[in-house]
């Protein structure tokens, strides 16, 4: 029983982690709470749905398409709501990206209507028994994609030149620029990567819950924020671990305490972390302004 719950928690946590990675990447390079991340997640789910139903794509096509389109959306966000806005006022980019959030959500309501839509079955459902745990093929698929994506991203950040440039920019804009990093380009790439990952998370969520709605973004956004904080602001591996951790905590508290307390637990964790360990579980560079 407990093993089964842990696997379920892992599943939930994987999608939290994917959303939070985008947040934490963007926060890292810009010190910006990028509010539209949840809506990008929602757009990803709808792109996936459209590709499967409208264009007859298989699930890989849907994931790839959502990644590309949401990545492009990240680039649009940079050009429309980040670059033209004054950088010396901490609230201005927050508000402009909130504007983007409102636009995206209502664009989705306008195009798809305000109701829930069924996400199509894209793979045959088979059950695997692994010792004490039963896992469906869809669940296994979600977990594999999510973990593969996280490993790839980690390798990218840790090993490539561009990844190093992102880390340098996160450390300090001026120093990075002096060392020859094109900061504007790094910010753009960070938004594209963060948004693309959120898009994939949206499709995976569609598969998991088998329905999606234009309002699914807000919940994902809030949980993503908690995970970002739990992992340490700007700390990418921290967000990965914290996402999985929060997923398991939520599932376990829902199973053994009560479903209503499940959300209460995650917000209590948020507040406890803020008060006693604002650097998150795995540390962060110190951040004063937000």
């Amino acid at each position: 029983m407990i093993y089964q719950q842990l696997v379920n928690g892992l599943m939930l946590g994987a999608s939290y982690a994917l959303v939070a990675i985008g947040y934490t990447l963007i926060f890292g390079v810009l010190n910006l709470l990028y509010f539209a991340q949840g809506e990008v997640f929602m757009v990803g789910a709808f792109v996936g749905l459209y590709l499967v139903v409208g264009a007859g794509a298989n699930i890989y096509g849907a994931i790839l398409g959502a990644m590309v389109i949401c990545g492009a959306l990240g680039a649009v966000a940079v050009f429309v709501a980040v670059r033209p806005v004054a950088k010396d006022r901490p609230l201005a980019p927050l508000i402009s990206t909130i504007g983007l959030t409102i636009i995206l959500q209502n664009l989705a309501v306008y195009i798809f209507g305000g109701q829930q839509m069924a996400f199509p079955e894209t793979m045959e459902q088979r059950l695997y028994r692994l010792g004490p745990v039963t896992v469906g093929s869809a669940q296994l698929f979600i977990l594999t994609v999510a973990i593969a994506l996280m490993v790839l991203l980690w390798l990218f950040i840790a090993r490539t030149k561009l990844g190093r440039a992102i880390r340098a920019t996160a450390e300090n804009h001026e120093t990075a620029a002096l060392l020859g990093v094109d900061v504007d380009r790094v910010v753009l790439i960070t938004f594209i990567i963060g948004s693309g990952i959120a898009g994939v998370a949206g499709v995976l969520d569609g598969i998991k819950n088998s329905n999606i709605s234009p309002f699914m973004g807000l919940g994902a956004a809030v949980k993503g924020l908690i995970v970002m904080l739990l992992g340490g602001l700007g700390n990418v591996p921290g967000a990965m671990v914290a996402g999985l951790l929060l997923g398991m905590i939520e599932i376990l508290s829902a199973a053994y305490i009560g479903t209503a307390e499940r959300d209460l637990f995650s917000f209590l964790i948020l507040i406890l972390i803020l008060l006693w360990r604002p650097t998150g579980l795995f540390g962060t560079r110190t951040v004063e302004q937000g």
Partner: protein, 319 residues
């Protein structure tokens, strides 16, 4: 006060715009000391649920329920304000967000206040508009006087530089707590007024998006001067209605003006575009937020614009 002067639809639009103005000041109070909150809707929920419980379950008149609800929200505000003292920036944003989410979970799982069904049959207050107007006048007067008082200047100095303010002998802790508590109390007023106008509230009424909207009111209107929140909240809440009425104005144009190319195409496009359903209106709202932040990142009204008018008036008087 306005019976028979305006129809019910206009009245309800004005009431909700007025409640937004009050809510904007609830954000402005802590913001004056540099504290940015996206949990003001949580305090509105406290005021709304507290006052509605009193009036609906105990039959207490609204005139008493309103201040009691606001007071309870204020006390909760001070309690939240204590941990808020230690953190700032994004951490404070997240703390206030977490607080308002906890309030949502609590009212959702507390059956005494309706739980998931929400609190129904709250006694309707027929004079909400009068109350709203009085509260707005009192609030604006308060913040107007505050701006020119030593207390207000002390708060501004905390906003500018907390350490410098402390060195100057300003009691930073007390003022920040006071500002947070006053803000929560004003939010409680807004929530109580909302509950007795809508007569139905549930756990999703006062959600994150509402807190975010309150924040945008102040930033768009201008957070550095006391007129800013009123201008931002009234402007952004009435804007959709103004956009809607643009279409009526369009119909007033003489036919000769719009019957030839390319005017006919432009007319058709505008006419169709101004057919505002909620989603389209909100899209325009989002676009305006982005444009505002590009064009005037300090908000519509700033310290520069307000004294300028005042100076001009004084000059005119002396001339």
């Amino acid at each position: 006060m306005f019976d028979g002067l305006i129809d019910g639809y206009t009245q309800s639009i004005l009431i909700f715009a007025g409640i937004n103005v009050i809510a904007a000041y609830s954000f402005f109070a802590p913001f004056k000391t540099g504290q940015v909150s996206i949990g003001q809707a949580g305090f509105m929920a406290v005021g709304a649920y507290a006052s509605a419980t009193l009036t609906q379950k105990f039959g207490i008149p609204f005139l008493i329920g309103l201040p009691v609800g606001a007071l309870i929200a204020g006390v909760v505000g001070v309690v939240v304000g204590f941990p808020a003292l230690r953190i700032k920036g994004i951490y404070l944003l997240l703390l206030t967000l977490g607080f308002s989410e906890i309030i949502q979970v609590v009212v959702l799982s507390w059956d005494y206040v309706g739980g998931a069904q929400g609190l129904r049959n709250i006694p309707f207050n027929a004079h909400t508009l009068d109350y709203v107007i009085v509260v707005i006048i009192v609030t604006i007067t308060f913040f107007g006087r505050l701006e020119r008082s030593s207390l207000g200047r002390a708060m501004d100095s905390i906003h500018q530089d907390e350490t410098a303010a402390e060195v100057m002998g300003i009691d930073v802790v007390r003022l920040k707590l006071l500002a947070f508590g006053v803000g929560a109390m004003i939010a409680g007023l807004a929530g109580a007024l909302y509950a007795h106008q809508a007569t139905y509230i549930d756990s999703t009424t006062f959600n994150v998006m509402m807190s975010v909207e309150i924040l945008t009111f102040v930033v768009v209107g201008g957070g550095s001067t006391f007129w800013g929140p009123a201008v931002g909240a009234a402007g952004l809440s009435l804007l959709p209605e103004l956009l809607r009425s643009l279409r009526d104005w369009l119909e007033l144009l003489p036919v000769e003006w719009t019957s030839f190319f390319p005017m006919n195409r432009i007319y058709d496009f505008l006419y169709r575009f101004l057919d505002f359903e909620n989603a389209k209106r909100l899209i325009v709202y989002g676009i305006i937020l982005i444009v505002m932040m590009i064009v005037r990142p300090d908000g519509l009204l700033t310290r520069d614009s307000v004294p300028h008018w005042r100076g001009a008036r004084r000059k005119a008087m002396h001339a």
